[in-house]
Symmetry: C2
Subunit: 562 residues, 2 copies
């Protein structure tokens, strides 16, 4: 099987224009792509616009999914797959004009007005586009059917989305063309890895899941099988023997392709680093006011030992060193792609990548084993201290650039806003992309609502604490009276943790007195890091529309058994 | 005049044993000290104990001052100088045995019991020493008079201290010896620089003062004359033409002495950096529960442009570079000394010093002028992003070491603790020395209690925001209803501020609607930095016994004129 990277390159090179684009049908194609790479260097900064132009022309389908994917429609993700009311949407409606797919494909730009089809329906979504939080990304698949997208993002198949969608209905699709766009298209999620039964999914397609909180802090190192999974797209199947990582510098016009074997020739660098999803603990923030996003508990975080080549060593071989480049960002692209074959993408500031103490590695091992498929096999970039979203899995390409990644996830997602900003007023350009995460902690034992035995007037409490940016945890305070009185917990840190390279979390324990003769107690935890930053008390004032950065005190209400 | 550095060296070299030690009387002495330096390298790690042994023998006076200096006895500092009830303390008391200074000097160690004299009184303070929060530092001047110390630290002359002190009274001092210890001793504060009349002192000896809040944010750069002053000791008078900076590496047994001219040969490096006292905004924290420390308002912070030699360039010339040393800390000693001639001292982790992007400089200019005496003339080490206490003024010595500075200010001061820790339970070893400061902000206009004109339903609010560790301010939220609703302010940042080298503060402005028809409002401000850390809501849960790290939301109550 050829790699997804090659498929993506082929697609871009050939400006593939087939109507019912099916990934599997492409897998028999093969071609050298070296000569293409040279053009690609110049083309990369125009990547998005090139892709827009290309895709708008062949109509691979509309990208309404983008809106709903990045909002993640928390409520809908699991249930929607079996939504029984779907049949009523996209049904043939009397009295509307009839169009065929060729008609639809003529409406692929704003100038021509943007049309899409869904089942028996034709829709003019031009007026919706202006309101689209993700901007003109929605144009990517204009002029075709949305069905290939919705196969990938089952989340769309819920009444809320379909009700809204139906308002833009302008006609019926010719009977012969109905279903043409999904003919021969296999389930993109048909080849997902097997997962541990303990992982609790908040979304199945794409797969997102966290382990049970009670198992999370059994040891400083999180077992691979229990490490939370946050995928944005289907897991690509990558053949390590043909895997290639492309590294290029936009300005210097240099590029180099590395096989897995090439990467393993660099000194093997090992770091113990915690990776956390920006949305960890979102379910608590949601209680203040709903947010858009997967409803993560407190376990969208894990701590592992990662081994691989240091990115700064690899970049040095391209002549890219501190002070010898005008670039400002390092962009990463995954081999996981959306229906328009645009890869998952993110970037980090170049300071982090070039700093030998930044410990950014192109990791091929997780806890001493080849990185599991769900975590980025064969290569995941590990950016210690930085939000999970920049630790790009299935790494396919690195671009040294003056610009941030133009990906949706860098530009229009994973950013923090003031509580007053809502979807009607948000301007994603006004906030910086989340990189280093703030200090956080959580209580893992006991669990919310649990009945806990009181021994000698005390209960046992256990949890984790972590801070981004290599800041070390210097103290965890625990309270059993809702935050009136505090006691310092015993903190177990990762070996050799030293600011500003304390990348791994700490696990803490406390035996804490509970109020006498009471049958209930509210436990609270808050951590202090080596910059003496601490957590905010409540969620009200850090609430944000995406529900990220949910690092207020963790409060757990328990019942006391005496 | 010879430099203070030389005086200190002479004192240490000669194990000076004069009873009534007067700094000025030493200033005519002069000697080469090169041969001494070699011994000093080995001796440095035993610095404290050597000094204790030396000083205990000659009895320069007791060090009760240390306890009160590091607690800074907030309430007492200004008023105490004119305390009229002092006369009753240390008066001759009938029925007590009589001792002379020679008797007292035989009690300079714990084994012999520790005696001190004050005016006509002799005291056995042995049992007090065990309770002393500063540990055995109090032994430094055992076996002599406390008067030379109290001349320096007028704070002791208040009823609270003297009442406690009088309890340890054991005898009367022989009439001939009364006053001998302060004979010929001039006022150590007799040669302080002139200060701008706008600076409001919270302590005059040593001098500590902040500018009026309303002037603080007139510009991004704080004028030298209005920059807050935080001195721990008298300002030394240093002659730039004879100034010498000693740099040594304990392990490598290397040392080098630099004149000011030598330092100016290095490339001139300029950084704009904010310096803040760890106790800034302490007066707000005190409202929750009293703390020990100078009662700073919100203006113990300033932002200046500093120029000098990079510390990493200087260290490189001694062969000390990243990865080529086992040292972990860089210690700094000032030329300002206590009555036992121990210098002010502090240290920083070596990572910060050796990182070329850490921007640590040996600064000889502040805002384009030679550094003023109050700010460290001729050399102050500027450690951007790090608490003021480590930005050592009048820099006399740098030691590359495996150990932190053993100074009082590094070990037993400038540390954070949980709210539950009080002076009875504190163990200073349990917290790390404050280095990088957490995110903070303050409202500078309007002031607390001020009547403010409402225009179009709005009021103008202005302030500063800053975060340590080079974290950039990415947002400031302002509220006019006590924190229920928030509006993002307009933020003006220093040129070129980029995480993690955003060393300078930001000034922010907002025109914010106030509740209709109300005559009062509570303004609040909170900042978010580029690590997305934000401020805690209230002081209750960050209260600490020293009143440091007071970075809760700033709340200002105003009256509205309509």
């Amino acid at each position: 099987m050829i790699s997804r990277l090659t498929i993506r390159r082929l697609l871009e090179r050939h400006h593939v224009g087939c109507q019912a684009l099916a990934i599997r049908s492409m897998q028999s194609q093969h071609s050298s792509h070296r000569e293409w790479n040279k053009q690609q260097q110049q083309q990369h900064t125009r990547h998005k616009h090139q892709a827009l132009a290309t895709l708008a022309g062949f109509g691979a389908g509309v990208a309404l999914w983008l809106k709903y994917n990045h909002q993640e429609a928390a409520a809908a993700s699991l249930e929607s797959e079996d939504n029984e009311s779907i049949g009523k949407y996209g049904a043939r409606r009397k009295g509307l004009p009839e169009y065929n797919l060729d008609d639809v494909s003529k409406h692929g730009t704003m100038q021509d007005r943007v049309w899409v089809s869904y089942r028996h329906g034709v829709y003019d979504i031009t007026d919706f586009i202006a309101e689209h939080p993700g901007g003109d990304k929605i144009l990517m698949g204009a002029g075709g059917s949305v069905e290939p997208f919705w196969t990938l993002y089952a989340v769309h198949k819920n009444d809320h989305v379909l009700d809204m969608f139906e308002k833009y209905r302008i006609g019926n699709l010719a009977a012969d063309d109905v279903g043409a766009s999904v003919k021969n298209m296999s389930d993109p999620y048909g080849n997902e890895p097997r997962r541990h039964i303990a992982l609790k999914p908040s979304s199945k397609k794409p797969f997102n899941a966290e382990p049970p909180l009670a198992l999370l802090v059994d040891s400083l190192i999180t077992p691979n099988e229990l490490f939370y999974v946050r995928n944005h797209l289907p897991v690509p199947e990558v053949d390590a023997s043909t895997y290639e990582l492309e590294v290029c510098d936009e300005e210097l016009q240099k590029e180099k392709v590395f096989t897995l074997k090439d990467l393993k020739k660099y000194p093997k660098h090992t770091v113990t680093a915690t990776i956390m999803c920006a949305g960890n603990r979102r379910s608590e923030m949601t209680q203040v006011k709903p947010v858009k996003g997967l409803s993560w508990g407190q376990a969208a975080i894990g701590n592992a030992t990662w081994s691989g080549a240091r990115l700064c060593d690899v970049l040095r071989d391209l002549g890219i060193t501190d002070g010898k480049t005008d670039a400002l960002h390092i962009q990463f692209e995954g081999l996981d792609t959306d229906p328009a074959h645009m890869p998952y993408g993110a970037s980090i500031p170049i300071e982090k990548a070039l700093d030998p103490h930044g410990d950014v590695i192109l990791a091929y091992e997780m806890n001493g084993e080849p990185i599991p498929r769900d975590h980025g096999y064969p290569i995941r970039v590990i950016v210690p201290g930085v939000v999970g979203a920049r630790n790009v899995k299935w790494l396919g390409r690195i671009v040294v650039s003056k610009d941030e990644s133009d990906s949706h996830w860098q530009q229009n997602d994973y950013k923090g806003f003031a509580p007053s900003v809502d979807w009607d007023t948000v301007d994603f350009k006004k906030s910086p992309a989340i990189q280093e995460l703030p200090v956080i902690s959580a209580i893992c034992e006991p669990l919310e609502g649990q009945t806990v035995g009181v021994k000698n007037g005390k209960v046992n409490v256990k949890g984790y604490a972590w801070s981004g940016g290599g800041r070390k945890i210097v103290r965890v305070d625990v309270s059993s009276d809702g935050g009136k009185n505090w006691q310092a917990a015993d903190v177990l840190e990762c070996d050799g943790a030293r600011h500003p390279q304390a990348w791994g979390w700490s696990i803490w324990k406390a035996e804490i007195p509970v109020p006498k003769s009471k049958l209930e107690a509210q436990l609270c935890a808050k951590a202090v890091d080596s910059q003496y930053n601490t957590q905010p008390e409540n969620f009200e004032n850090i609430w944000n529309l995406r529900g990220v950065l949910a690092n207020a005190y963790h409060r757990v209400n328990i019942k006391l058994a005496r």
